[in-house]
């Protein structure tokens, strides 16, 4: 189910007061603005470079960013509760290192993947419990987690470890054909499945409701008898799990493990979530918005690749500008609600 069809359904259900209704949906505004921006950028790209309009360029946005999509999903949960997880990039690198090392030693790929997912979730659980029991800001705890995970990478190896194992190389090369000579990678299917699962969990389960309620007003959530503490721990477990999955996906993509990989990727994930319309203080936002946020980051990169004359560092500058613009948009939006 896409965001627009959800919107259509909502609008169809309430035709009684269409004008007021539009205002009531102001919280979709940042997400819709991102979607609009994405479409506009795509249109401009198509105008400048005819080959831009091909479906494969669009699909490549997904193929090249599967790991970032998964990271953004986990990060959305965390930010919706009003928290932050700075460890995700380092956990991605750690997952890649662990996977590459164990595969080199001849481990079964299934066992490797399970172990990596366990490590990621356990790190998330540990950080969540510390945040909960000692009542420390998530920023500090996950910053420590980031140093820990990154440090472990260096302990494992300073060199890049190639992955030559059959299943992983198979996944790296596999293409799932789509009609019209288009294709996607298996990673895209997995990432989109995770997005769909996250969407349903956030919007259709008690757990999801509690996530929003905590970010909206933690005091009131507490006084409603909601499982505030469990939920706050669980979002970090989810984020850790997503980081591990992202690490596996990144391994499929890069076929190596390197301790310096995924530097600053936590910031890309946060940027994608915020650009996608999730309020940094929590309480409102959509996981689908975060996906669009990732696509916006991706299309900026594509633009610069197409242009050819610009240094790739322009990506960072454009992302910075976008981030600022969206924060300003959110400020405007929350001022109205407040």
């Amino acid at each position: 189910m896409s965001l627009s069809s959800t919107l259509a359904r909502r609008a169809a259900g309430k035709t009684a007061a269409p004008r007021r209704q539009l205002r009531g949906n102001a919280r979709y505004a940042p997400t819709l603005a991102t979607l609009g921006l994405f479409l506009a950028m795509f249109a401009v790209g198509a105008g400048m470079y005819p080959s831009f309009l091909s479906g494969q360029v669009f699909l490549n946005l997904f193929i090249d960013n599967t790991f970032l999509i998964v990271l953004a999903v986990g990060m959305t949960f965390v930010i919706l509760t009003g928290g932050i997880d700075l460890s995700v990039g380092a956990v991605v690198a750690l997952s890649m290192m662990v996977a590459a090392t164990l595969l080199q030693q001849g481990w079964n790929p299934a066992a490797v993947i399970i172990l990596v997912l366990l490590i990621g979730s356990t790190l998330g659980l540990a950080m969540g419990l510390i945040i909960h029991y000692f009542d420390i800001q998530p920023f500090i705890v996950t910053l420590a987690g980031m140093f820990l995970a990154r440090g472990l990478c260096y302990v494992i190896s300073l060199d890049s470890i190639p992955v030559t194992e059959g299943f992983f190389t198979g996944m790296a090369q596999a293409q799932i054909p789509l009609p019209g000579e288009l294709f996607i990678s298996p990673g895209v299917v997995l990432a989109l499945a995770i997005v769909a699962a996250a969407f349903f969990v956030l919007h259709h389960t008690r757990f999801g409701r509690t996530v929003y309620a905590i970010g909206g007003n933690e005091n009131s959530a507490m006084l409603m008898g909601l499982p505030v503490r469990t939920t706050k721990v669980l979002v970090y477990v989810l984020s850790g799990l997503c980081s591990a999955i992202a690490g596996i996906l990144f391994s499929f993509y890069s076929l190596s493990g390197y301790s310096l990989a995924a530097q600053g990727m936590e910031l890309d994930a946060i940027a994608a979530v915020v650009i996608g319309g999730t309020l940094l203080t929590g309480g409102t936002g959509y996981v689908l918005g975060s996906v669009v946020g990732v696509l916006v980051l991706g299309i900026v990169q594509t633009f610069i690749a197409y242009d050819g004359t610009l240094s790739s560092w322009w990506t960072k500058i454009v992302i910075g500008a976008l981030l600022l613009a969206f924060i300003l948009l959110q400020r405007l939006f929350t001022r109205k609600t407040g």
């Binding site: 309430k14 919280r27 389960t205 309620a213 009131s220 507490m222 008898g225 909601l226 409102t284 609600t337």
Partner: protein
């Protein structure tokens, strides 16, 4: 004697939709301790904010003469320059800075821009001696008790050459010993020529220190009483007289008719004692016992700091306080309400007095706010049935008359009355046997108030047991079957409605238990 130091004439202050002060007059003589009395929300604090420049001179009507000169303050700085210093109820000290640093904050002893720490600490020590506080000036503020912090505030005021000291409910957060010390200090300063205005509703304190009392009710100054009925006063300072002045409001608001059908006892609280969460020397609720029956509306009356909310919240899943002790019985059987989910499971609901911070998720829509406390009812194996949620919410929107375009409207955009209806809907949906409603009509306009009263009457008629906490005595008299009064954490009275009047309630509410 009797030289006026402050004259406030015809003060009228309007907030959007509300006249907070209307033609208020206040005369304070030099060297006296002048008390200002009034119910919660009568306008006492607003008047002091007008005086101290928190509200700039062009935002209200009227005239202020200080030492016979007209004042046009635009900020606290202006009033402090003239020697008027206000100490707010919530202390304005910086917790990590030292006592000395706090005393001279914004007023540093810094010749040529360089702070002279030796002199700062020396001067601070002198000021501390004047207020009778034996602490090292370099001690961080957070390491001393609230009572001592209050004294530091006064020391700070003295450092500014204070002529008129305003204390807003200075003893509200203090234990008895600290309160007495503070009152003695006020008398001591009076001997040194400092005039004080003290806002308080503790009548025994007023009797102890005040030379004059001005009573404010519903934003109007009612009368000024002076010791010995002296010059310019309209009468003696007696407890009865003050109470009469504070409550003399007409009972003309409308309340729905109801014939109570009271059944068996539903909830009983016994020997409930609660400690302040930070300050362990303060007992906020002392051995309180009360009960409520099926179909009954029971009121909890008390002035600010009486411990009503603290009592309710500590019963509701220990949401407040430390070292809570006592027993809760439901239908005669003892129950465990030590967690919020536990209390909800036992059929208790608590609708907070602070909707915005504790009651609602303001950035979320109506239907989700309504469903949140009883989500298990709408969910199967963790999966929320959204269609039923919308149906349920729409049901409440109609039955409670929540004025909103749709149940997907954001609660933050609703009026206070409609927000309150959402809160009530939320708890009604959890289908409790006992509802504790804390200030259910605070910040709500008159029309919506009547609707809330009707809802409360309806709940009682359904057989719910309802406890209403309210600062408005006419409201309690209008809707309750029985009223408990609290004062300083003690239950001081239990009055059936047939015997209750504003005077009797206020009498119990201002009673001090030894």
């Amino acid at each position: 004697m009797n030289v006026p130091i402050l004259q406030m004439r015809g003060i009228t202050k309007t907030f959007p939709g509300v006249k907070a002060l209307q033609d208020v007059t206040l005369d304070v003589n030099r060297g006296e301790v002048h008390a200002i009395c009034g119910e919660n929300g009568a306008g006492k604090s607003t008047l002091m904010k007008v005086l101290s420049g928190v509200y700039a001179h062009n935002t209200f009507d009227g005239e202020i003469l200080f030492e016979n000169e007209p004042c046009a303050f635009t900020s606290i700085n202006d009033s402090e320059k003239r020697g008027i210093v206000i100490i707010h109820q919530e202390l304005a000290l910086s917790p990590y800075l030292s006592i000395a640093e706090n005393i001279f904050l914004g007023n540093e002893i810094a010749p040529r821009g360089w702070v002279d720490w030796r002199k700062t600490n020396l001067e601070a020590a002198k000021l501390l001696a004047r207020v009778g506080l034996d602490e090292n000036p370099v001690t961080p503020i957070q390491h001393i008790s609230v009572g001592k912090q209050q004294l530091v505030e006064i020391a700070k005021a003295l450092s500014k050459e204070v002529k008129l000291l305003i204390l807003d409910e200075p003893t509200a957060a203090l234990n008895d010993e600290d309160s007495n010390h503070l009152l003695d200090l006020i008398l001591h300063l009076k001997g040194q020529g400092v005039t004080s205005i003290i806002i308080s509703h503790k009548l025994n304190e007023i009797r102890k220190v005040a030379d004059a009392v001005t009573i404010i009710r519903d934003g109007k100054s009612i009368e000024t009483l002076r010791l010995g009925g002296g010059e310019g006063g309209q009468g003696q300072i007696t407890q009865e007289r003050i109470i009469r002045g504070m409550v003399g409001r007409d009972l003309d608001s409308l309340y729905p008719d109801r014939t109570p059908r009271i059944g068996e006892e539903v909830l009983r609280i016994e020997d409930w004692t609660v400690q302040h969460p930070q300050d362990h020397s303060r007992i906020v609720v002392h051995n309180a016992s009360l009960h409520v029956r099926k179909g009954e509306v029971v009121g909890l009356a008390g002035l600010m700091g009486a411990g009503r909310t603290e009592l309710a919240m500590s019963v509701f899943g220990r949401s407040y306080g430390k070292a809570v002790s006592g027993k809760v019985f439901k239908y005669g059987k003892e129950i465990d309400t030590s967690t919020v989910p536990g209390a909800i499971a036992h059929g208790i609901a608590y609708a907070t007095e602070d909707r915005k911070h504790y009651g609602l998720n303001l950035i979320e829509d109506i239907k989700r706010n309504i469903s949140m406390a009883a989500l298990p009812k709408l969910a199967k194996r963790g999966w929320v049935d959204k269609n039923r949620e919308t149906t349920v919410a729409n049901g409440y929107r109609r039955s409670m008359n929540i004025k909103a375009p749709a149940v997907s409207a954001i609660t933050g955009k609703l009026s206070g009355g409609n927000q309150q209806k959402v809160v009530l809907s939320k708890w009604m949906f959890s289908d409790p046997d006992v509802l504790i409603l804390d200030e259910p009509t605070r910040g709500i306009d008159v029309g919506a108030k009547y609707e809330i009263y009707t809802i409360i009457a309806g709940l009682a008629a359904e057989g719910k047991a309802v406890i209403v906490i309210s600062s408005e005595l006419p409201e309690l008299l209008g809707i309750c079957d029985r009223i408990y009064t609290l004062s300083a954490g003690h239950v001081t009275g239990e009055v059936p409605i047939s015997e209750a009047s504003q005077e009797t309630l206020m009498h119990y509410m201002t009673q001090e238990k030894e």
